[in-house]
């Protein structure tokens, strides 16, 4: 390694410096290659003739135009082996936990995609105990799903809970612009749960330069692929916060004079995000990568380019909302969706799952209409009143994020609520199921 560096040419004349990039005249340089400029890591983003443009991850503040620049002859990479487990690393894959340097095999990050015909259809349910997820938006291994949440919502807490209950072999945390407090929160939660040995974290906090964040998802997913492919493990990847990742993308594209598209995001935002999320996969040999991400919203606006593009890529989204009626945070049943739930509900769960889920959400919607009616000063019908009482109970017993019960109990709870407030005709479920599960009519 040192021998190789000895032969490397040192450039000392930068031809252009912007806030995120610098240029140098050089030849024989590969696209995507890494370089060290003035002690900072940089990557080739454009080559025109002999002009090479590099994005400097930690920013170009104080960078002189006579800075030393050395090309490393390789794309960003991570050293992987079993010792990666339990480590806390920075965006470059360097330890930040006072542990030894990584020694594993060096793998380029952002590697190739899985051949779609080699994928297996995701089919293992991930039970979280949270009914707002398990009952209404069931998660499956190999799925990719974000929380869409306003910054004040407890998404990091819910995500940590889900991660610990998910029974994954490895939990890989990719923190982008994570506040130091949240970083310490994750560390404590994992430590208290005695789960540190299955955690690997790549952390870029708010104190670190924003452009460094661009490396975090690929680092986390390269580690994930190692454990899922080579070790056939069930890997859960947590990415928080993808909005800050996208913001970093827009900084770089802006500095490169690209024409912005909607909301000042680069035109390639969809592809950039898809490349990350599509790493979620169920491998035929048993390993899997599941991605749970956070996309923070601004004022709940999901039409902004970041949540919008994300929604088209991911297999659903989970919304958190504070329900003032019960004073708790719930998983919003209207706007949340898990696209893969069909693969497991009624198959790995009880046959009535689909219908119980749909009917209760429809009744909850009736309650929302009744509420609007009431707010507009109209009298409520008997049905409206029953729907409202149902909604409160439903919110409290099933939607709240502090629930921890198994799915059969969730379904039974659903039937109990139906029976408490409605007649079988009002819930519109197949008669076969009503006869079997309606409280008091149960065959067994």
């Amino acid at each position: 390694m040192s021998e190789k560096i000895a032969f490397q040419k040192i450039y000392t004349r930068l031809t252009k410096i912007t806030k995120a990039t610098c240029s140098v005249k050089a030849s024989g340089i590969g696209y995507d290659e890494l370089a060290i400029v003035h002690g900072r890591l940089a990557q080739v983003v454009k080559i025109m003739g002999d002009e090479v443009i590099l994005q400097v991850f930690s920013g170009t503040e104080g960078l002189p135009n006579n800075a030393e620049l050395v090309f490393l002859g390789k794309a960003p990479s991570l050293r992987v082996d079993d010792d990666l487990a339990g480590r806390f690393l920075n965006a470059y894959g360097e330890p930040i936990d006072d542990g030894p340097a990584l020694r594993g095999k060096e793998i380029e990050i952002g590697g190739p995609s899985v051949n779609p015909v080699r994928r297996k259809q995701p089919s293992h349910l991930i039970a979280t105990g949270i009914a707002g997820i398990d009952l209404n938006n069931t998660l499956v291994t190999g799925q990719k799903i974000p929380f869409f949440a306003d910054p004040d919502q407890p998404y990091n807490q819910v995500m940590a809970t889900v991660a610990l209950r998910a029974k994954a072999d490895k939990i890989i945390l990719g923190g982008m612009g994570l506040s130091n407090d949240d970083y310490l929160y994750y560390r404590n939660v994992f430590e208290n749960a005695g789960a540190l040995e299955k955690i690997i974290a790549f952390i870029n906090t708010t104190e670190d330069p924003p452009v460094e964040r661009l490396l975090v998802p690929d680092m986390a997913l390269t580690a994930a692929e190692y454990f899922a492919v080579e070790k056939k493990q069930t890997v859960l990847v947590l990415l928080t916060d993808m909005t800050l990742f996208a913001d970093a993308l827009s900084i770089v594209s802006n500095r490169m004079d690209q024409i912005p598209s909607k909301d000042n995001m680069p035109g390639s935002l969809y592809s950039d995000l898809a490349k990350i999320y599509e790493k979620a996969v169920q491998f035929p040999e048993g390993g899997s990568i599941t991605i749970i991400a956070v996309t923070t919203l601004s004022g709940g606006d999901i039409t902004h380019a970041i949540p919008d593009n994300t929604g088209y890529i991911t297999e659903g989204q989970l919304f958190l909302r504070r329900d003032a009626e019960i004073g708790k945070v719930i998983v919003d049943p209207f706007r949340s969706l898990s696209r893969l739930k069909q693969l497991v509900i009624g198959k790995q769960t009880r046959e009535d799952h689909h219908q119980v889920m749909n009917s209760s959400i429809r009744l909850y919607a009736d309650a929302a209409n009744a509420k609007t009616k009431h707010e507009n000063g109209f009298d409520l019908s008997d049905y409206d009143k029953r729907a409202l009482s149902f909604a409160k109970d439903y919110s409290e017993k099933l939607l709240a994020i502090d629930i921890n019960i198994d799915i059969t109990t969730m379904l039974d709870t659903g039937w109990d609520l139906f029976a408490n407030y409605f007649s079988p005709a009002e819930i519109g479920i197949k008669e076969e199921f009503v006869n079997k599960y309606w409280p008091g009519r149960k065959e067994n």
């Binding site: 340089i29 080559i47 025109m48 190739p112 015909v117 969809y270 919008d308």
Partner: protein
């Protein structure tokens, strides 16, 4: 001598090549990345510089790398063995690529070169033929696959020799043709065609006249798709675009279904890979996979190949249409293709149009849609391509360039509504905003009169009016309150709810409800019109909703039961009793 060149610039997947000879727009060139050949397509030529979009990752590529130009545009390879295959956007057979991951530069020949096909001649010596004429036939899965005069041949030819019945591979010569000057051309069972050019080997394109059944009530009854027609499905994410497309691919009445998964989720393609070999086509009793070809260029696969994928899919559709078959082509999603165009346009620093999309986007989209259609072939037989694309409008806003450009060209509009989706009313096709222009076609109306009933179109219009009146009544109720409007308003609203729950809503996951044949749709519409036409009397608005909820529940049970089965009839009797009761009082 073929043109060669060297790489001068690299911006992501756009490569600028200095060429030493002639270069054509859309010509394919190969970039030699230390032994691995990267395929690229020329998308702009400026002096001796060719701007090429690379179909793979350019990581590690250096300025000064050698390039050779192939002299061909991107071509699809057409011959027996395309059915049931899973291709990528460049028509590589994904099942025959090694390894779990897609490796840079991996390519293969799309057809099986060793397989022998049992050939039966259809033409005889001395026959006059033109491009697209049927020379012979092999059986592919169950489709009589025609071996045709290559589309690239222009002018008139005479069959000099045709192979006798027997087993041949696709590379063996099965016919020799002579042109008017006496020059001979050998024909094999496969041919190549540049994907960006439409195949015009047909006599003429006629207006669609037949309805293509999909088994989806809100489409067949209210907004029918015509065989050889075009349509599009825009909708925000989570509104069920993909579920709807999958339902179409499973149920539509077509000889062959081509699914172009363009820049969408890989797991959705996996669903087709996994389920279609198991699912049975209700009409033919065969496995669905036997009639399906998938072109998968998922969102994480190279962006440039996304554009290629929709063209490859269309070219394969045109090839099979020339055999006199009914093809359904589905593309999910055309917005991703438009975004791929935008990315390249941006890298080439072209002046942007609205939302940074290229200025010629509307023209590109309408050219593409115009390749669908119902055609009469030179031998008098007919074939069709029905095309349905999905559009993923940014922010769910239909006033964005891709939706607007598509709306100008597609004849059916299936608007997915966020509101319907939020209240789980699936499929979330808005019955009032959506339209099918084909319902206005005289040809289609005649077909309907002959094949369904004389007054069908009137009934459909009536159903639509009930929905509009119901929506108006609902608005009044919301403004004035339940008891602020006459009971009659509630009846009007609930009549429209019956249509909504029983016709519009359909359970795509229920084995019976998911597919409703047109005959059954007609039966149910007639039944519902009895409800609509009944003069009902209620004492209070609360009685209205509880009576109708009970009615809807019975109708729903009918939808879940096999048509005219014992259960079906018993629920129907209950409905009839309810009706008699309410009209009497």
């Amino acid at each position: 001598m073929p043109t060669t060149g060297i790489v001068k610039g690299i911006i992501s997947n756009l490569v600028i090549v200095e060429a030493d000879g002639p270069v054509a727009q859309n010509e394919i060139c190969m970039i030699d990345l230390s032994g691995t050949e990267l395929m690229a397509e020329v998308i702009k030529v400026q002096n001796n510089q060719a701007f090429a979009q690379v179909f793979e990752s350019t990581r590690g590529l250096k300025v000064g790398t050698g390039v050779h130009f192939t002299g061909n545009m991107l071509e699809a390879t057409l011959g027996p063995g395309i059915l049931s295959r899973n291709y990528d956007g460049l028509q590589n057979d994904l099942d025959r690529l090694d390894g779990v991951f897609l490796r840079k530069g991996d390519r293969n020949f799309p057809l099986d070169e060793k397989a022998e096909w049992s050939f039966k001649p259809l033409a005889g010596n001395g026959d006059e033929v033109v491009a697209g004429s049927w020379l012979g036939e092999v059986t592919e899965n169950w489709i009589p696959h025609k071996v045709m005069v290559p589309f690239k041949l222009s002018g008139n030819y005479t069959v000099k020799w045709i192979a006798p019945s027997g087993d041949y591979t696709i590379r063996e010569v099965i016919a020799v043709l002579t042109d008017t000057n006496g020059n001979e051309t050998e024909v094999t069972m496969y041919q190549k065609w540049p994907v960006k050019l439409p195949v015009r080997a047909y006599k003429n394109k006629t207006r669609p006249f037949r309805i293509m059944e999909t088994g989806i009530r809100v489409i067949d009854t209210l907004n029918p798709m015509a065989e050889g027609g075009t349509g599009f499905i825009p909708g925000p994410f989570g509104c069920g675009k993909t579920v709807l497309q999958h339902a179409l691919s499973r149920q539509a009445e077509a000889d062959m279904v081509i699914v172009a998964a363009c820049g969408e989720r890989a797991n959705e393609v996996v669903e087709i890979f996994t389920e279609f070999p198991e699912l049975i086509d209700a009409r033919t009793g065969r496995k669905l996979i036997e009639r399906t070809t998938i072109i998968a260029n998922t969102s994480n696969m190279p962006v440039a190949a996304r554009e290629a994928s929709v063209y490859t899919a269309m070219t394969i559709a045109e090839y099979y249409r020339s055999m006199g078959l009914k093809i359904l082509l589905l593309a999910d999603s055309t917005s991703r293709w438009a975004q791929a165009l935008r990315e390249m346009s941006n890298r080439m620093e072209e002046l942007p149009g609205p939302d940074a999309f290229p200025m010629d986007l509307p023209a590109i989209i309408s050219n593409y849609y115009s390749r669908a259609g119902f055609v009469e072939l030179s031998n008098g037989k007919t074939g069709s391509i029905t095309f349905i694309g999905t559009v993923s409008p940014a922010g769910g806003n239909l006033k964005e360039p891709v939706t607007e450009s598509t709306k100008k060209t597609a004849r059916c509009f299936y608007a997915l509504s966020q509101q319907r989706s939020d209240s789980k009313r699936y499929p979330a096709i808005d019955p009032i905003d959506s339209y099918s222009k084909y319902l206005e076609y005289e040809e289609v109306q005649n077909y309907i009169s002959e094949n369904i009933s004389n007054d069908w179109v009137d009934k459909v219009v009536k159903v639509r009016d009930v929905l509009i009146k119901g929506r108006e009544a609902q608005e009044q109720i919301n403004i004035l309150g339940d008891d602020g409007v006459p009971v009659e308003y509630h009846v009007r609203f609930w009549k429209s709810e019956v249509i909504d729950f029983i016709i519009l809503q359909q359970d795509a996951f229920d084995p019976v409800d998911r597919l409703t044949p047109l005959k059954r749709q007609e039966y149910m519409i007639n039944k519902l019109l009895e409800v609509i036409d009944s003069d009902m009397h209620f004492d209070s608005f609360e009685d209205v909703s509880s009576w109708f909820k009970k009615l809807i529940n019975l109708f729903k049970q009918m939808n879940y039961s096999d048509f005219k089965s014992k259960e079906f009839s018993s629920y129907e009797n209950e409905v009839d009793e309810m009706l008699i009761e309410i009209v009497k009082t």
